[in-house]
Symmetry: C2
Subunit: 350 residues, 2 copies
Amino acid sequence: MQRIQNLIQAVKAPDHGLAEAAQARLDNLTKPLGALGRLEELAKRLCILRGGLQLAQPRPAAAVFAADHGVALAGSSLYPREVTAQMVYNFLNGGAGINVLCRQVGATVQVVDVGVDHDFPEMPGLIQAKVARGSANLLEEPAMTREQTLEAMAAGAKVAGDLIKAGHDLLIPGEMGIGNTTPSAALAAAFLGLPAREVTGRGTGLDDEGLARKIGMVERALQKHQPDMSDPLGVLAALGGLEIAAIAGYALAAAANRVPVLMDGLISAAGCLCATRICPGVKAWLIAGHASVEAGQKAILADLGARPLVDLELRLGEGSGAALAVNIIQAAVAIYNEMATFESAGVTGH
Amino acid sequence: MQRIQNLIQAVKAPDHGLAEAAQARLDNLTKPLGALGRLEELAKRLCILRGGLQLAQPRPAAAVFAADHGVALAGSSLYPREVTAQMVYNFLNGGAGINVLCRQVGATVQVVDVGVDHDFPEMPGLIQAKVARGSANLLEEPAMTREQTLEAMAAGAKVAGDLIKAGHDLLIPGEMGIGNTTPSAALAAAFLGLPAREVTGRGTGLDDEGLARKIGMVERALQKHQPDMSDPLGVLAALGGLEIAAIAGYALAAAANRVPVLMDGLISAAGCLCATRICPGVKAWLIAGHASVEAGQKAILADLGARPLVDLELRLGEGSGAALAVNIIQAAVAIYNEMATFESAGVTGH
């Protein structure tokens, strides 16, 4: 707990005083004022977050936190539980969507076992930080104890800290866990004060009947645990999952180190939402990667005031939509650094 | 005219018979069915357009067609006419937005003078194909003669043909021409049958008064020329511009060579729209790069049934939004080629 408390203390607001100078630089580039739209906004925001007017290309890294879920045993997902572990091997072999999309943008991929119901051998790229062999079934009891929640958060925070020490300055929270859209929807409903049906989606592809059953599960979980907004850690423990808690810790540690977090889909955003409820200062460091098909993710992004960069109807998770959005950030940095000014190009300005 | 007629004859429909096999391949990749959303759609469409199930990464090229406009002398734009030529030098020096964004995705940039009111020396990267020193003022007379229109189309077609011969297989139509959103809006209004106010925007940044004046210009142009939909070449001649006609020829030649065209903003889309009115078969070969701030562009894309890949509130033109979208196409191809299958990864499937 002390480690998490220290991180909370360390989160500071970024320096908005840089906005004007960054915009002045953008306004001198050979284009009509504001013509590069959200690329300009993004370059300006990166200056603010990085605390300077020199923008280097980001060194992005994704961490894929994997865990199993008690609720999956109650039939919340189309896929069997063993797929979580199978996909961990797929990540380690470089064959999953997140691997492909990270290669495209030069991002590294770390895989972190925080709660998979499987014993992995030591493997390159795999960080072993198992807290439990999956969370408990939130329909019957809290998904995690408070101690487990803090332990998973600390594991996520350590991964972020190590990536930052290694020079990474743009962190993607990714995840894998069969059944994990159900706890994520429950967290969104609880923290946003929305009915289950507005934040619960089809996950990997439920039909209407499966969706209705899942909405019912989220409602029962909320009713059972009566989430108390004044105790966000307790809410995360009751309704969350080990990889979601790890993402919360990862985002918290990134913010504490003044490093922006590029959010992915529903589960990734739910973990970041938890971080902002535990430490509101985290919000300023969050960038929305993409708009997921899952309504719960869109609701979370709206609450966080984070506009997604890409909307391609993805619903894969893993960090994949965020990885895709790294391209946009790279383009914004390139524009900021490489375009000629009116003066240098001899173009008549505005 | 014979050259243009030959191209029209050569445009064929792509082979939709490949869709099922492409989807079957996508469905075997380690992800829930359809979870990569529009990336999957795009990979499938590329298979159809390329005519095979093997997708290589595209070799993109942008051609920036530059021309001046008589209507700019009537005060349709915020910028003086000489900026067209100044920006051509900026393109050739690599300092414009299109250069930066093309470098990011490995696309080449050709600059083509089809009608700038300036004499350029021979310079690497510049193709000299001047048809006239700018179009006439469409408020008073047809912007171009039919002969000029065909000559500009042939110039654009030659550029496309040469790029394709050099191995490029994804062509971006870019443009530069102070004043060119006005003829583009007029073409959109004419071909889509929409009132001027619905397709006319602020261009490089007009205020309310400037916008009202510009809408009035588009209305007067439509009234004066009474565009006849059965004569699309005549409509393009009356309301268009030399770079817009060149883009129409470029898109036509790409389609005739079975090469997809990645459209940019309003002017680029207007040129492609003209190509589809002259040869409806071109439509199947058009991909929408991005959604521009300009309402006229969105109206054209809707008419063409082309959903933009990126929406970042850009209004720069040059080809910049299309260049940004190349990333998305590269990601779609990478996913299609590099992801593991359920079988190869040992993951339990659906």
